[in-house]
Every structure is written in C-alpha cells, then in structure tokens.
Amino acid sequence: MTPILQLFIFIPLLGFIISLLIPSKNETAISRTAFLTVGLTLFFVLGFVGYWLFNGHPVLNLKEIALFISKEYEFLVDLCFDKITVVYLLVGAFLTFLVTIYSRYYLHRERGYKRFFNTILFFYLGYNITILSGNFETLFIGWEVLGICSFLLIAFYRDRYLPVKNAIKVFSVYRIGDVGLILAMWASHHLWHENITFLKLSNYELVHEHLAEHSYIGVFISLMILLAAAAKSAQLPFSSWLPRAMEGPTPSSAIFYGSLSVHLGVFLLMRTYTFWEHQISVRILIVLLGLCTALIASPIARVQSSVKSQIAYASIAQIGIIFIEVALGFEKFALFHFAGNAFLRTYQLLVSPSVVSYKIREQFYNFIPRHHTIEDSLPKKIEYSIYLLSLKEFNLDSFMNYILWKPLKNIGRKLDFLTVNRLLLLFIPAYLLGLIFLFINGNGSEHPHEYLPGAFALIGLLMILKSFSERKSPLMSWLLLIMNHFWIALAISFNEKFELTEIAFYLSGIIVSGLVGYWGILKLKSYEQNIDLNQFHGHSFEHPKFAMVFLLACLGLAGFPITPTFIGLDLVFSHIHENQVVLAYATASSYILAGISLIRLYSRLFLGPHVKTYHETAYKSS
C-alpha cells in the first residue's frame, strides 16, 4: 500500500497545474477544480487511513525516487507515513477542504480569485510534501513551497503597502528558519554520510552510536532543527510575525496562520524527536523555549484589542505548550492538542467579523465598565510595566529589526561606492584570479585550501549584502545576486571531487533565470524609466503577466525547487566539509539573504501601491 502515498502529492500537484490553466474569469471552474482536488484527496486519505488502521497501522516508508545521482551523491525523494503524518494529513485535508468551499463564495468577484485558489492549492501541495516527507531533502522541498505561498497569500492585496511590507517581513523570518534547516541538513550529511531517512532516525542503536562519536554535531543539528521549528511556529524570539501575517482574506489567514502553517514547527520537532530524544540539554531547551513563549505570548494576547492579533497570540501561547508536550515525550497528547488548536483557531478566525454584533449585544444587556482581571492584584508599577510591555509586544518586532536587519543593511551601505561598472571592473579580474588559483591548485585536491573557499564564499556573501541594501539600481542588485552563485561555485570547486557536470547542474538554473530576470529588468526600465528600489512601484497593476514571469525568474535564482539549481544547492552543501564552518555559514547565509533580497526586489518593482495614480490607489497606512 506504500505507493498510494504518492497520490496525496500527485492529486494536489495535478489540481494546481489545472488551476493555473483556467482563465481567471471562470470562477466556477477554478473553485470546482480546488473543490475536486482537495475533496478527492480527503476522500482517498480517509479511505487509506481506514485501511491502514485496519492493517495494524504500520509505519510506512516509500523510498528511492532519485532525482539526481552521481558517484558520491544522490538526491532522493522519500515518503514516510506514521501516526504523526496521519493526524497532520487528516487535519490538513479536512480544513483545506472546508476552506476551499468557504472561499468559493467568500471571494466571489474579488480581484485575484484565481490567484487565491492557485496559491491555496500550491500551499496544499507543499503542506502534503512536508508532512509526508521521509527525509530532510523532501521536507525541504515542501518547506520552500510553503514559504513562498505564505508570501503570496500575505501579499494577496498586492496594491496596498502594509500587506506587501508584512509579507516580506514574514518571508524573511521564514528564511531564517530555513538557515536552520539547511545547516541541519549539511551537518547530518556529515554525520550519516547519506541522506538519512526519518525512519532510520528511530533506530536507537544507530543514532546512539553516531552521536556518541560526534556529540557536538548532534547538538548542532538539534539546535538548527529547533531554530527552524521556532521560526515556523512563531516561538520566541520570532513571535511577532504571526499577527502581522493576517493581511490576506480571512479564510487564508485562518487556514495558514490559524492552523496548518503555524503548526509545522511542531511537526518538525515530532518528526525528529527520536533524534534528539536522548539529548537532555536540547529537551530542556525546548521546554524552556515553549514555556517562555507561553508566558510571554499570553499577556500579549490578553492586551490585544484587535480580534485577529488576539487569536494569533493566544495560538502562539498554545503552541508553546505543545512544544513542551513534545519535548516531554507526550507525543499523542501533542498531536491531540495540535488538532484541537488548529480547528479552534480556524473557526475563531472565520467567525471573527461576527465578534462586533455578538459582543455589542452582550454589552447592551450585561455591560460591566471594566472587568477586574488577575493583573489588577499586582502592584501598580508592575502591572503597568507588564501592560506596557505587552502592548509593545515585548519589543519583539523592533528586536528582530535591531539585531538582524539593521546590521545587514549597514554593512551593505558601506558598499555604496560600488556601481555597476566598478563592480565589473573589480570582480571580474578577481574572479579570473580565483579561477587561475583553482587551475594551479588543481580541482578537487585531497586537501582543499584552508582559507580560499571560505574567502570566496565571503565575497559572495558581500555581493548579497550589497544587493540587499541597494537602493537605486535593480539591475545592479540582480547582477550581484547572479555573481554570488558564481563565487560559491568557485569556492566549492576547491573542495574535492566537485565535478564540472555538477557545477553545470548547479549553475544551469541560475543562468537561465538570471538571463530572464536581466531581460525583465531592462524591459521594465524601457517601459517605466524610473525603477529605483527606494519605494514600491506596484507595476503588477499594468503588467500582471510580466510580474509573474519575473517572479519565476526570482524563484529560479533563489534556488527554489523549479530548476535543477535546487538540487545543485544540496549538492554544494554535501561538498562542504564539516570543519569548513565559515564556508558553510557563508554559503547558507548567502542562500537565505539572496532569497530575501530577491523577494524584496520583486516586491519593490511589482508590488505595493502603484506609482501611477490615474486609478484608485490605497493609502500607505492601509
């Protein structure tokens, strides 16, 4: 029965592709496609789960759909099915099904009806890949899809300022989580010397034996997993993204940020539980993280005066508790809690507009001016301090800004002296020099050069930083992003056995999407003249198709799983030695920041309030 698992991925994939082909005017066909896709999946899931239970609910593993094989390396898609998957699959199919029906009427006549259902289906595909995944690589494919869907749904109202700004913010936080996942993958390559499946992780002897030798790598992997999980599930210090994600139509907020997406961090922890089960320090850390989140998110929830942010913070607090439950080993309990929380928050968000009439009526009959709350019994100064802190979300939002984006932008600004010409003048010779070094040193020597790879990767990272903080020329930003990949390729080439075919594999997607994007920017410039990066331009209003193509180019360049570069990226990491921490960090950071920089570039050019005001345009404060 194992091969049936593929159905749960192929049906959404097929539905997604069909939904892309339907003309956007045809609401009925679009919503029917979504209805059938999710409905059919739900139907099969229910049947399959029944059959599976009847057969004694074994843990299933579907292996070896190799997407890429070379001598040393293979990229395997692997599916896994156990009770965790079952719960997530059922909850996901059920809620997505209800929300597609709900949205069919709710979104009627909305501009972007098609875009909405495309994204919902794509999200559902990513969700199913993630929860069915049997190894990190497969999980990462789904994870990436979810990230981009999040961006698209938060920025659904792309002609307004705040949704676009918040979408970029949330996407950035997701990318930080992705660093964790990438580094965890990198470290586990070295720990296991293979693409370890989650199934194998449950083999206690195997894990124990490996970890005994490399305990620090074990802890490192666990921490990186925790980083990814905390970012995705809006735990500390990332919590402030969740309420800010509530910018799309209410049903999408309900399903994404009320239920499915936000619980995937929990999923990641449960999926890897057997791996960190015996690392007591990690378990304590998770309990503490969950506890702190719960303790801080609850007062924040209590002071919220808008209904969606209240639900968001209340949900974060519950997820904190779920983290504790997972860390303490109460897996079934955590699953139960997840399902209940997901249903509750989805429903609460969907009926949130009703809160006005409901509460006003309640007040009309039973009005009490100010409820006495538990906090009133605190000393005044403490009460007010906590109140004010909660109101300011414990400065979490500005904290992220302060420690992360400010320094990055500052470094980038230091590079302001670079212009397109200087850039080419400086770095083409440098790159050639690198190539000469490579030629002399010999590709793939047994003992790679100590500093050179790291240094080259750092130059790559600098390119990204500059691209990230570029305010004027999108072309410059774009070129830097392309060049970064070449630096990384160069850096890795110093390592052993990085063959030319592999480099070609890695750079193929980059070159194609790089060229498309380059052409795109030139063309947009010829249409619109001024396209600096100082503000949002909102050109998708006039060029929606063009915007789509450019987005695809951005995704390609970002190593999104639509070009071979995605696999190439994993390949690159498999070639980074475990002692090359600088190289690993620089490469991972480049990857993450490049993604953010690309999304920023796309948003600045195509999203936000349209610069031309011959039609209705939104206020910046909306």
């Binding site: 009427y105 659904f156 249903f343 507009p353 004010l388 031309k612 039609h615 910046k620 909306s622």
Partner: protein
Amino acid sequence: MKKSHSNESHGFDEHELLHELKHFLPAQAPLKDFVHHNTLHAFQDLKFYDAIRRASKIFGYKVSLSLEEYRSLYSNEQINHDILERVIAARKGSTNVEEWKAKALYGKYDESISPRIGRLRSNWKKKYYIDLDLLVHPLLFRILCSYLDQGISIWSFPDSKKGFLASMREIEQNTFSSFFKNERAKKLLLEGTCTIEDLLTIIVEDKSLFNQYIFDQQFAHQGWSGMVSAVEDLPQTLLDRKKITLKELIIFELLLEIDALDTKFGENWTSLKHRLDSKPNELFGDVPKTELSELLNIWQDAFEWTYYDQVLAGVKIDASKHEEIKEKSFQAMFCIDDRECSIRRYLEKFDEGCKTYGTAGFFGVEFFYKPVHANSSTKQCPAPVTPKYLIKEEIENSKAKTNNDIHFGKHSQSLFTGWFIAQTLGFWSAFRLLLNIFRPSENAAAVSSFKHMDTTSKLTIENKNLEDVEEGLQVGFTVEEMALRVGNLLNSIGLVKDFASIVYVVGHGASSVNNTHYAGYDCGACSGRPGSVNARVISFMANHAGVREILRTQGIDIPASTQFVGALHDTTRDEIAFYDTEIFTDENKQKHFKNEALFVKSLDFNAKERSRRFESIDTNESPEAIHERIRIRAVSLFEPRPELNHATNALCLVGRREMSEKLFLDRRSFMNSFDYEVDPEGKFLVNILNAVAPVCGGINLEYYFSRVDNHKLGAGSKLPHNVMGLFGVANGIDGDLRPGLPSQMIEVHDPIRLMVIVEHFTDVVLSAIKKSDQTYEWFLNEWIHLVVVNPVTKELSYFKDGAFSRYEPLQKTVKSVRDIESLIESHQENFPVYLIK
C-alpha cells in the same frame, strides 16, 4: 468655502486649526451606530463639481469614474449619445459640440492625481531619510485602539478616566518601561504643559507651516483621527465611554515623532523649516478647472441624465385611466427605503384592492427604546434628532438574554483555560464549521432583525403620569403627543380618508452573519436599528380611542372598524412578522389571514427579483425555491453579500402612488407618499424634504464616493478586515481604520447623484426647500437633483441655481413590459425604466 481655510496668516490659532481639522476628517461613528452620510460633507458649501474637484486636488480622492470607464459605458449605450450632445451643448454652447465630443471620446489626458496633502511631511523621507509614519503609526494605533477598546481585550487599558493624555502620563509615571525611547519626549509628556504649538516649534519651527503640518499628519491616518474626533463629539456612542480629544491625539503623536527623530539623530536635529527647498503650495488655495475636470463633469452629467431622462419620460406619461376602487382590502405603510420598492409593487399586483404608502421608517415617532433587561437604551429615529421619550419593553417572567458562545469568550484566549478548550472545544469547532458550511443555520453569531424586540412583549407607549421619567426621558407619550404624531404622519402621506379595515405599518430590518457593517443594513431612519418598535408604537397610537377622538376634530375620521397593526419586514431574508395581531376583530382576523398569505407570496416574488443580482442563485427557479436559498444566504458565514442594501439607488419619488405605480424602477427608488391635495401649502412637504435630503442624499452620496474611490473613500474589500476594538475595521493588525463602505456593498452601484422628484407646484416646493438652510444647500449646490412634476399638467421643472426651468425629456416613449418575471430572469445588470402593462 469658509475664509478660515487658509494658513496665510502667520499667527497660529490652535482652536481654529482643530475646528477646521474636525470639519474635514471622516465623520463615521463606531460600527454599532453606523449611519450613512455624505462622505464629503465638509465640502457641501460648494457646488458639487467645484467641491469634488477641490477635494480631489487637496486630499487626493478619486471623485468620479475614469474617462475609460465613462467611455466604456458610452459604448455599451449606458450613456446615451443624444444626452451627451445635449449636455455638451448646454455647457459649451451648441457650436462646440463636435469639438468637445471628440475630446470626450478620444482625447488623451493625464488622469493621475497628485494631492497637496502630505507634501510638507514628505520632506522627512526626502531630506532626512526617515519614514516617520512607519516608526510612529504602529505604536500610536495600538495605543489608541487599546484605549478606546470596547471589549475585545481581556486585560483592558488601565484607564484613569481622566482623559487620554492623563492616562498616558499616569502609566508613564508608574512603569519600568516607557512609551518612548529617549528622555526628551518622556519629560515633555510628564511635565504635561506642552501645547501643540510648543511641540510644533521643536519639529517645524516655522509658524506659517503649522496648520499644514498637522493636516498632513492627521490625514496620514484619517481613519483613526476621524474616530477620535467622532468619540470626542459624541462620547455616548461608545457603551464604555472614553474621554479623548483630537488635541490629545495630536500632542501624543507629536511626542512620538520627536522621540523617533531623537532616536535617529540624537537631540540635536534641525527642524523641518531649515531643510525645505521651498514652501509647499497652500493646502486650501484655489483649484482651477482643467479641461479634464470639465470633461469628467460632462460625462458624469451625461451618465446621470441618461437615466433621469428615462425616468422623467416615464413620470410624464399620464397613466390617468385610474379608476377608483371602492372596497379597499387593506392599506400598508412601508419605509421610504429603496429596498421596499419591489415588495410594494408585488402586493399591489397580486391584490388590486390594496394600497401601499411610503414614509420615513421611524413613522414619525421619535424615542429611545429600552429592551427588557437591557442596560442602556437605543435611539429609534433619524440620527440628528434627540428624542425626549423612552419606550420600554416588558415581558412577564422573562429570563435575561444571554449569549453563550465560547468561541467569542475570553477563556479560549487565556493560557490554561485555552489549553483545556483547545483540547475539547477545538473538535466541536471543527464540527460547527462543517455544519456551517454544508447546512448554514441560525447561530449565536448571526444578527437577526426579529431579535430586536420580542413578539410577545408589551411596550410602555402611553404616558398617563408626567412624573414617570427615567434617565431624564419621559416614559411613553401622552394622548395629545400621540395624536400630534399620528396626525402628522397621516397628513404627510396623504392618508386622511377612505381607510381600509386594516392598515399595516411595516418597519424593516436586516439580518446577516459575519458582517461588521450590520448596522448599515437596518433602517437608516431608525439610526441603524430595525423599525419594528416604531411600527408597533405608531399602530398603538393610531388605534387609541383618545387619539382618534382628537384626530376627528382635525378632520381625520378613522372608522372604528379600522385597525392598525405593526409589522417588520426583514429585507435580507424577505420574511415578515406581524405584531399585536390579537387585537383584530373577528372580521379583520379573517381578512388578515388572507392578507398574510398574500404577503408570503409577494415576499417569494420579491426574493426572486432580488436574486437576479446574486451569482450563486439561479433566478430561473421557482420563487419559493429561490426564497429558501435567500434565507440560507442570510445565515451563511461565507456570504459577504447577505443582501445588496441600497446599491443602485438613484431616485427619490415624493408624491402619490399613481405617479410611479405603472413604472418598473428596478428597486432604485426611495418612495415617499405625499398628496399635494392634502397639503396644498406644503406644510408637511417641508418635513418630508428635510428628512429626504440628509437621509436619502446621505445614503446616495456615501454609495457614490465609496464606489468611485473604494480605496480612499470606501473601506476596500471586507475580506481581510480585522475588527478593531469593536468600533471599527482595519486591514491587518496595524493599519488605519477604514471608514466608508466595503467594496462588496458598492460594486454593483452606478455612481449617480440622487434625483428627487416631487409632485406639487413649483412655487410651493421652492418655498418648502427654502425653509431650512441646510436642506436648501443640498439642492442649491447640486448634491441632489430636484425635479417638480406639476400634478395637473404633468409638466416637469428642473431646479438649478435657485430657480425652476422647464424640462422636456428627450425620450418620448417608454418601452413597456408585460411579464416582469421573465424580464428579471434575463440578466443581472440594471434595467432601463419600463412601463408595466
């Protein structure tokens, strides 16, 4: 425009600035008291086209359709070619018609709007590279929302009840944290002596720029500023009252700005004055006409008159073969509301003996209504009126009304109870959601107009003791007071003789679910409440023997066999409930039994007619089947359009039913009954027009402006709306409040101004509208069109620039239609005017 709108003088007058600012800010009350009003009320002292041109240039609003939209209306023949030529000829002279027509149809113009507002403050970004709004708004909005919150937060704002700034000061004094990042702003707040002028001196320095700076600042979040201004003026609009003034908001915002600037530059930055290249344009300086603005006006006129011309052609056709029916089966009064237009037509179609009337839906009785067990009372009359009476609901042995839906409760948001609820109730939510999607039904979240008053309750209507006063209001009306109101009502609608044995007084309300703007769907004449109470109250009065006695002396003789009965029509569900039917005599009971069936049948057909605008309902089905779908629609969580409310409204007819009886007006008309013979001097007409102008005009213009600029003057799509503190909606969590109407309410609306058609003689109408300056302004400044139909000759006169001139419709004949049912099945769009055969 008043002289005061200038900041040329170098002195700074805080009081004047605040006054002016409040005048221009959106005036929308909190959601529960949502009442339609003219969005650009601040410009009403100017002629409509001058006003919108100014508003557009100053504040950046889009104020009409775009050239492209007009042109496509023209090519779809929704703008008539002959009318367009006539409009051009009237404005530009008949020799220039071809030239201007070519411009209108093919001219290329830059339609982009670059408003004056915001220019001064944009220098922060340009010269200082700082985005002040981004730094200040999120915290400011959050504090305001928490301060004003009406019950969303569990731990509510520690409000000292001394006012906004005093509360801020108290918290700032008693905390280890702070609102600010630097000492200066903190000190300024705690000292508590700083004025707007002081702070502006720090930030801007140049006094002549102060006014403009504050306008820029407050219009960067006009939603919040408007709400603060509304709460300041009308504190009782919040159940949990809050003391706040616009001045306090401005001071606090200026402090936050100083703090943000200090954070970036330290305490020694140069004020805005020193970095300005040049002074920005005078905000309220002249806005000259342009060729584009004139073209847009031409198009708008042509668009409006294409419709008006059909209507006027229809009105002019004399359907005078009207034979008087001797035996009247019943009479029914409805609200003036455009949504009652079609139900009246169906009643009259299925029972030729009945006669319907329209009047403002509070039926001339103004009072506060206090339901049983309620803590406070609610106003049941037009918003500007402040009643002196209280009507109480009484039910024997009733239980207190309580809601118990845990999903809205506070427990699910707390840590521990939330933990328990998620594990248990979470699964119940899943089930509820499933049920709600596949079998929508009545639930706690729904608003139903029938819940407003209990059918079995008693109302304290008659006051027998003047000492009986509650909350400063007289409980009930004395007999004389009742007689006065009944007399006024009957005279104003012209029902003073030939009473049928039953007179129904039908109020209206709406039901919806998941709808933050629910109050806007109920009766506007009852301050956004269902009109059921008023219907019962006026019926009681009209049945009162003492009242009838007095009325008889005034020449209104209501026969003893005539009985008045109140009812409520739910315009969303198309259902009706009758009140106090136990008073019927046996004979009337029989008749009522028959009439009730007639109402049910008419409501089915009414539902069918409404359904043609709904995509999800097949209009070809039988009326009964469609009606069932309409009912389900009203309780479906996922339905953002439970009904279309006043969308497509365009007309207001004031006259006898005969004037419009034979016209198919496609639910686009407000209808107020009035008989010039009963009121030859126009005494009652004055009151009718005093109500029609602000109520119908307000509705019409709010729809107009929300339609032409849904982003800036409307609320945008309602789908992402987030409820803020129970008083407003915003997008997401840190956006500005969004006043105006959501796009789902206005998308089918054609933005044309209201045309009021009055049946009387021009001199009487002229003196009637001149009685009140406010009313006269509406007509004189062309925010509403006015046409008078001579009741004898049917001659039409159009009011312009203070005088009437004869209007001859271009259209000479009106198409007729025999079968309305197949007509409404034909398509979704607006219909032209038809004569009903």
